[in-house]
């Protein structure tokens, strides 16, 4: 187990230190001079490789960025979420809790479908921003937005309830940062079966989009939890 002895063979320029050192210094001087000149440019974004973050927000965030969540509303301003609980189920960090509520008469302008989340909580301290909830959501209701400033002053602020999630939606909409709907990934077409053959290409792709993760509700959540009317009303009032 003796260690191999390595013979060092240096060329002359390597041997005398100085030549390579001077070459290196020339290189660093090039960088210094380039950046020194860049320093005098106006504006916060002077040196091309550095963003002066709080002042300079010109850096483009990817449209598919996985940041702070929001709950989507549809064109009529109704909540899209149907409280199916898929997101809570798929979440690897178990940070989502959803309580289902049933839409009552006269609430059609508030909730898009018959069920809605009576409460919807995301614990940002647990969330790992994997984006599975977004991917698995059958209604595209929960979305990880482009907001990346997640620092908070207290633990309570880190728990996003439904109100905050909808507020996030409004904020994102106002800033024009709504996430475009993710393009479904084309899936290997199914082996030809008589009933599926007539489906057509578009339908196939659509059907297969759910192929990877349980994108459509695989099984119905067994029974909607009993939600007290008062709680529901509370939420409704908050909405106003």
């Amino acid at each position: 187990m003796a260690k191999p002895v390595v013979k060092k063979e240096y060329t002359l320029s390597e041997r005398i230190y100085l030549w390579e050192i001077l070459k290196g210094m020339k290189l660093t001087w090039g960088h210094f001079w380039f950046n020194f000149k860049a320093c005098w440019r106006p504006g916060p974004h002077t040196i091309p490789t550095c963003w002066q973050y709080p002042e300079d927000r010109t850096r483009e965030i990817s449209p598919v960025f996985r940041g702070e969540h929001y709950l989507q509303r549809d064109d009529k301003g109704r909540e899209v979420c149907i409280a199916c609980g898929m997101c809570a189920k798929i979440c690897p960090a178990k940070c989502i809790t959803v309580k289902k509520g049933k839409r009552e008469e006269g609430e059609e302008d508030k909730y898009a479908s018959k069920t809605y989340p009576a409460s919807f909580q995301i614990d940002l301290l647990r969330c790992i921003f994997c984006g599975f909830c977004e991917e698995t959501c059958p209604k595209n209701a929960i979305v990880l937005g482009r907001e990346f400033e997640l620092a908070r002053f207290s633990k309570e602020e880190c728990i996003l309830d439904k109100r905050k999630l909808l507020l996030n939606y409004r904020k994102a909409k106002e800033e024009g940062k709504l996430k475009p709907r993710k393009k479904p990934v084309p899936v290997v077409p199914a082996p030809p079966k008589p009933e599926k053959a007539g489906g057509g290409e578009a339908k196939k792709i659509k059907a297969t989009a759910a192929g990877k993760a349980p994108k459509k509700p695989v099984e119905k959540v067994k029974s909607p939890e009993q939600v007290e009317v008062s709680e529901k009303k509370e939420v409704a009032e908050k909405e106003k």
Partner: protein, 346 residues
């Protein structure tokens, strides 16, 4: 009485001046590092981040002083003082300009023109090692002790080539006084070169600058505080202004070393080919010579920064090998050549 006053003004003035440069150097170092590394560096406090050193100073001054429970209190406290004291006092014999005539009185721009300037510098420079080793030992920390030991060995070893390089300079100029050497560098050498020490002692200059880098614990010789190996070396356990003294002491050392390099090898306040002193009045020449000297010093200060962010670090045995096997024979060779040359020409 006037002499006293002038001396005190010079002492206080140069002290403040050197301290100021050292403080600004902390900013230059970080900003320069930033620009070399494609990032802006500290640019928040004040215009271009110029108040950064001020903020750092306030921070260091107002931080809680912590003395580790197991530290040897006396040594721990005296360490930084012993380090910064020689750093500040070494500049005393280094000139910072030619001379100025005020009220008919000729004032040389140097705190004191002793005729054993070199010896003073070497003696005072060696003192700094006490601050390092005592601080390292007093902290009762293994990293600190390692750093202190490294620093001691390095400083002691590199003092030899440093002294030998200076010896060759003494051969050339026949004096120990830095002012006399500065004065002797006026005019041209061999008819076309400025009469600067570097052209008479090219090898000596390289030896001196390498040894000086090692003495100042700068990259590539920054083993005593090699961050990745022994955390911060001898000042691992230090905080607040004690740490500040170590850090400022280092920068003051840089100023002193740059001053010596300029005074010995780079023609002090002389401009090549032109004798500005002959054209300017006594007062303006004093100021101009000071500025020229300072400009040259700033270049070498910048060199320290520049080299630091270019090179990797030596290893302990390699530093020792370079010092004893590389620099000292070369320095002796340099002395031999110089002596031979002088013997043949004179």
């Amino acid at each position: 009485m006037d002499d006293w006053l002038v001396a005190i003004i010079k002492v206080v003035g140069i002290w403040v001046w050197v301290l100021l440069i050292a403080v600004v150097m902390t900013w230059v170092e970080r900003r320069g590092a930033g620009l070399i590394q494609d990032r802006p560096g500290p640019n928040r406090a004040g215009p271009w981040g110029l108040f950064q050193p001020l903020a750092d100073g306030i921070k260091l001054f107002t931080k809680e002083e912590i003395i580790p429970t197991k530290a040897q209190k006396f040594l721990y406290i005296i360490g930084p003082a012993l380090f910064s004291l020689p750093a500040f006092s070494a500049y005393a014999v280094v000139p910072f300009g030619d001379k100025i005539i005020l009220g008919g009185k000729e004032i040389i721009l140097q705190v004191s023109d002793v005729n054993i300037g070199f010896l003073y510098i070497l003696a005072i420079g060696s003192m700094a090692v006490y601050g390092v080793i005592l601080g390292g030992w007093g902290s009762t920390n293994k990293y600190s002790i390692l750093g202190g030991l490294r620093s001691t060995a390095q400083m002691v070893s590199y003092e030899v080539p440093l002294g030998l390089a200076l010896l060759a300079v003494v051969f050339v100029y026949g004096t120990f006084s830095l002012r006399d050497i500065s004065l002797a560098q006026q005019g041209t050498f061999l008819g076309f070169l400025p009469n600067w020490g570097i052209f008479k002692q090219p090898l000596g200059f390289i030896l001196f600058i390498v040894a000086a880098y090692a003495e100042a614990n700068r990259v590539p010789f920054d083993l005593p505080e090699a961050e990745s190996e022994i955390v911060s070396g001898y000042h691992t356990e230090y905080g607040s202004m004690r740490l500040g003294l170590y850090l400022f002491g280092e920068y003051v050392n840089l100023v002193t070393i740059s001053g010596i390099i300029v005074a010995i090898y780079f023609g002090s306040w002389h401009v090549p080919y032109i004798d500005l002193g002959a054209y300017l009045g006594p007062i303006s020449w004093g100021i101009v010579s000071f500025c020229i000297f300072f400009l040259k010093v700033s270049f070498f200060l910048w060199m320290f920064v520049w080299v630091r962010w270019t090179l990797p670090r030596f290893r302990y045995d390699q530093v020792m090998g370079l010092g004893w096997r590389g620099l000292i024979p070369l320095a002796l060779f340099n002395i031999f050549i110089t002596a031979l040359f002088i013997q043949l020409t004179v």
